[in-house]
């Protein structure tokens, strides 16, 4: 899907449109990482399409020197589906916010994941409705106060990763806006995946939800709160690199332990297995539990049947009449063996 060109720098993927997010918005960091990824992957700008819904996040396509379609609220996945059906040779990226994806748009996300079309889906999760001024988002944690939840929200949020697994996703990952290096790695993995690659990016909204991911982004003690997932490696975290996950087979749950305590050594720890859906499920629920870290990285990555990629050529280049006598074919269709002649 990629072709070699004179390598473009990240800045070459910037459009001439002024970027209009609030100062300090996490979207800037994501934009930077995406431009770097496009450059690293040496993608031809005219082969790339960014498709978004509506929201602050969804303004993203305007800022890239690629094809872009800023559609309507919640429908980016559906429109991208049509684009993919018509021209699978394109490099398709969906950009969507938490409200866009998981409130109004969740039905399309479900079916996109199930159909497993070949594209990347970046879900910017700031746990709020940025563009419409801070109403309660479906991903906002219990107790969140907002103009529509004055006394704190009263329901468990949607957990993107769990939702995606329940929907049958083939690739589920998570990263953080300001964790540039990590994010670059995940974006590349997502692009390499065959099928729909869902990446949840935790994104700070300094205006309506400032600092909700502070625990994960502050230099000092974020290692105590983040678990970086690496396929095949034991799951370890902590400033002192001494916390780990083990399986409690009796209660069928994962539990946190400290290496060196109670005779626990590194070999006792669970190793991450990207191909194990049960592990992915357990990890996707971790962040809800007291004392547990928030996993980032690739939760799950397997090959699943994809909605068949038709052998479409680039519609701009095709001449359907070249290959066969279409008129003839249609004549046969209209006749259908049921015709009679009046003479």
């Amino acid at each position: 899907m990629t072709i070699n060109i004179n390598k473009l720098e990240p800045k070459d993927y910037a459009s001439n449109q002024e970027v209009r997010w609030c100062p300090g918005c996490g979207d800037y960091a994501i934009l930077k990482a995406v431009k770097k990824t496009l450059s690293d992957l040496e993608l031809a700008p005219e082969k790339i399409v960014f498709i978004s819904g509506i929201g602050c996040a969804s303004r993203f396509p305007y800022y890239l020197q690629t094809y872009g379609f800023h559609t309507i609220h919640g429908r980016a996945a559906a429109i991208a589906t049509g684009v993919t059906l018509a021209n699978p040779a394109l490099d398709i990226w969906i950009i969507s916010g938490d409200g866009d994806s998981l409130s109004i748009g969740s039905n399309h996300l479900l079916h996109l994941l199930r159909r497993n079309l070949n594209l990347v889906y970046l879900l910017f999760n700031n746990e709020t409705y940025g563009l419409t001024k801070g109403q309660l988002s479906p991903t906002a944690r219990l107790g969140t106060r907002s103009p529509t939840s004055l006394h704190g929200s009263e329901n468990e949020p949607v957990h993107s990763a769990r939702y995606a697994l329940g929907a049958g996703a083939s690739f589920v990952a998570r990263s953080v806006d300001v964790a540039q290096k990590h994010l670059l790695g995940i974006l590349r993995r997502a692009h390499d995946h065959k099928g729909t690659a869902l990446v949840e990016i935790l994104q700070n909204c300094p205006i309506f939800n400032d600092g909700i991911f502070h625990e994960l982004t502050n230099k000092k003690n974020s290692p105590d709160h983040i678990l970086e997932l690496h396929h095949g490696n034991p799951m370890i975290w902590g400033v002192n690199h001494d916390k780990g996950l083990v399986l409690d087979p009796v209660n069928l749950s994962v539990e946190a332990v400290t290496i060196g305590c109670d005779g626990i050594s590194e070999t006792d720890l669970l190793c991450h297995d990207e191909k194990n859906e049960n592990m992915a499920w357990m990890l996707a629920g971790l962040n809800r539990r007291q004392g547990m870290p928030t996993p980032v990285g690739v939760f799950y990555a397997v090959n699943k049947p994809m909605l068949p990629q038709l052998k479409n050529e680039d519609p701009g280049k095709e001449d359907l009449h070249q290959t066969e006598n279409l008129n003839q074919k249609i004549k046969k269709l209209l006749d259908g063996g049921h015709a009679w002649t009046v003479s």
């Binding site: 379609f69 018509a86 359907l320």
Partner: protein, 623 residues
């Protein structure tokens, strides 16, 4: 084609001009198959014809109940047939419920053929008859032919390999055999069809053939009243050419395929099942890749229109089809297509509403929604073919308008058009001028996505993959020419006008509106649109024959209206609009031409009868 049943030459056949036959029975009785096969043989006999199917809303309502009755009507004759016929001449009622539901449409003196084996107390009760109608005076005004149809079939068909239940299932073929005989027809097309359909299922195949023969032979050999009911309908003087029987669903789909081909585009057909639009999805799915169709069953109507928009954005032809409730769901996304100016073909097979309404019945009540059913000012093109045949060219026209003007086009059909069939003269594809999309946008200078062709006001169709044309589009108002987001007040006004003028300009690029029948001016014009063509046309002919001066104008271009329509209408003192809704075209024309119009609404879920229109016209003509 002349009759050649030599040995029965002594039986006298009455030559009649036309006949309306309705087959009716339980939805499990195979009535639709019966009807379709009879239709095929009628066409081959050289008659012109029109048919209509009437299904119950339930997949399978309780057997024997009134709600489970399925019917197939055919009107055929030796002249041009444009309606399904006001009143039935012959009714095949396979059970008491079928009799009960359909009797009121039978003309006085009409013939009823019943299966007397089905008039048991239990069946009568299910149909809601307290007294057996064969025994009281219910049928006094009609001619009745009682046949032990079930028993005759079972007797003929039953073998060791065929159970009684299976044998009885062949009743429809027995009835078909009888009908073929009555109208002096060949059996061969039917036997060919049976052989193909049941190939490999020897016993079933045999049973069907046997039943058909038995029905045919029954009339042929018995003397039981048969000679009272033998007809011959001479061939209609039909234009020469290659013909076939088609439904509107078929012609519409084929028109889309042909239109896409003429445009050198693949078609991405995106839909979500809904009656009566589902059949288009089935048909196009069946055609599939060999016909450059990419069919897509979406998760809902919103996704289906969005996928079609995505397909058009990517450079192929996005098409979506639905019915009223689904169309309502699509309206937000259609606004996006209008705003971004992407080509899109939308087919709305109208049905009875509001809400879920009467899903299997016909209605024309989505005209308002098609023209005005979106937020803000969103002009687009609306077309309404008049007949199954017209659906073919309308679909091609829709494709051409969509890509020429970079606009969504809504095609309004309805439950009647979708399921009705008629004899269609197959057009010569080679004679249609192709309109391939010009992809040489590479040469346009400057390559601006919202620059405009001065003649059509269309913007260029620049698609992902094109080098040097990279741009972004979206639903926020965009700057003229560049397409960049713009909140500038004047620009918004200008862009709104451009979108308006682009569509308004089409009024002068479509054919002038002509008078279908009758003089170009006068006292009364009946104006119709879409599927009401047949009954209006016949009504106007009848009245003309009665020496009334009256004209028929039939609209195909609903929006924009043809440039000359206002002037044309002003040549008539009265305008009468019969519609299967509460007066939606009447509203449109009043608003467009500020002139009084007499609306004649009919909202029963059923097509107009010729006589209803005649009566309405007479009220004005005799004032």
């Amino acid at each position: 084609m002349a009759s050649n049943h030599d040995k029965n030459l002594f039986q006298k056949r009455e030559t009649i001009d036309a006949a309306v036959v309705r087959f009716a029975g339980d939805s499990g009785d195979g009535i639709q198959i019966l009807g379709k096969q009879f239709t095929q043989s009628t066409a081959l006999a050289g008659n012109d014809l029109a048919t209509f199917q009437d299904f119950p809303a339930e997949i399978r309502a309780p057997a024997g109940s009134a709600s489970g009755v399925s019917a197939f009507q055919i009107n055929f004759g030796s002249h041009k047939t444009q309606t399904i016929g006001d009143n039935i001449d012959i009714l095949f009622a396979m059970n008491p419920a079928a009799l009960k539901v359909n009797l009121s449409d039978l003309r006085d003196g009409g013939l009823i053929i019943i299966d007397e084996n089905c008039f048991t107390t239990r069946d009568l009760a299910k149909a809601g008859y307290d007294v057996n109608p064969l025994d009281d005076h219910t049928l006094d005004h009609y001619r009745l032919m009682r046949l032990p149809l079930s028993n005759l079939t079972i007797k003929a068909v039953k073998t060791e390999h065929i159970s009684i239940r299976e044998a009885r299932h062949a009743r429809n073929m027995w009835a078909l055999g009888l009908a073929l005989w009555m109208f002096d027809r060949e059996k061969t097309t039917v036997t060919d069809w049976i052989r193909k359909k049941f190939a490999g299922k020897t016993h079933i195949l045999e049973a069907n053939l046997t039943a058909l023969d038995a029905g045919f032979a029954y009339a042929d050999v018995t003397e039981y009243n048969a000679n009272r009911h033998l007809y011959h309908v001479p061939e209609a003087p039909i234009e020469t050419g290659l013909y076939r029987n088609v439904t509107g669903t078929e012609t519409l789909c084929w028109g889309l395929v042909t239109g896409a081909m003429l445009a050198n585009l693949k078609m991405v057909y995106c839909s979500y099942p809904i009656t009566p639009a589902s059949d288009m999805l089935h048909l196009l799915t069946g055609l599939g890749e060999p016909y450059n169709i990419i069919p897509f069953q979406a998760e809902d109507e919103i996704a289906s229109v969005c996928a079609a928009i995505g397909a058009s954005y990517a450079g192929h032809l996005g098409v979506t089809g639905s019915s009223g409730p689904g169309m309502a769901l699509k309206s937000e996304a259609i606004s996006l297509a209008v705003a971004t100016e992407l080509p899109l073909v939308i087919i709305n097979a109208q049905r009875g509403g509001p809400s879920t309404g009467l899903p299997t019945k016909t209605e024309q009540a989505d005209l308002y929604q098609a023209i005005w059913g979106r937020s803000a000012d969103t002009p687009l093109v609306v077309l309404a073919p008049r007949s199954p045949s017209a659906c073919f060219s309308a679909a091609i026209e829709a494709v051409e308008l969509a890509i020429t003007f970079m606009t969504p086009v809504i095609l309004l059909t309805d439950g009647y058009l979708s399921n009705a069939s008629e004899a269609w003269k197959i057009p010569d594809i080679d004679a249609i001028t192709p309109f391939p999309v010009k992809r040489n946008a590479e040469s346009l200078t400057p390559p601006l996505p919202y620059s405009r062709d001065p003649e059509t006001l269309a913007r260029p169709w620049l698609i992902p993959g094109m080098k040097g044309k990279i741009h972004r589009i979206g639903g926020l108002e965009r700057q003229n020419q560049t397409g960049n987001v713009s909140y500038d007040p004047q620009n918004h006004h200008e862009m709104t006008l451009l979108r308006h003028n682009k569509i308004a300009g089409i009024a002068n690029r479509i054919p002038r509106q002509k008078v279908e029948y009758g003089p170009d001016k006068g006292l009364l014009a009946i104006v119709g649109w879409g599927s009401t063509f047949g009954p209006i046309h016949q009504a106007v002919r009848q009245l003309t024959e009665q020496e009334y001066i009256i004209s028929h104008i039939h609209l195909h271009h609903i929006w924009p209206l043809p440039g000359n329509l206002g002037t044309l209408l002003s040549c008539f003192e009265f305008i009468l609009i019969p519609e299967m809704n509460m007066g939606q075209l009447a509203t449109l024309l009043r608003s467009a031409y500020s002139r009084p119009i007499i609306s004649y609404p009919k909202v029963t879920g059923q097509p107009f009868k010729i006589s209803e229109i005649v009566d309405a016209a007479l009220k004005i003509l005799e004032k």
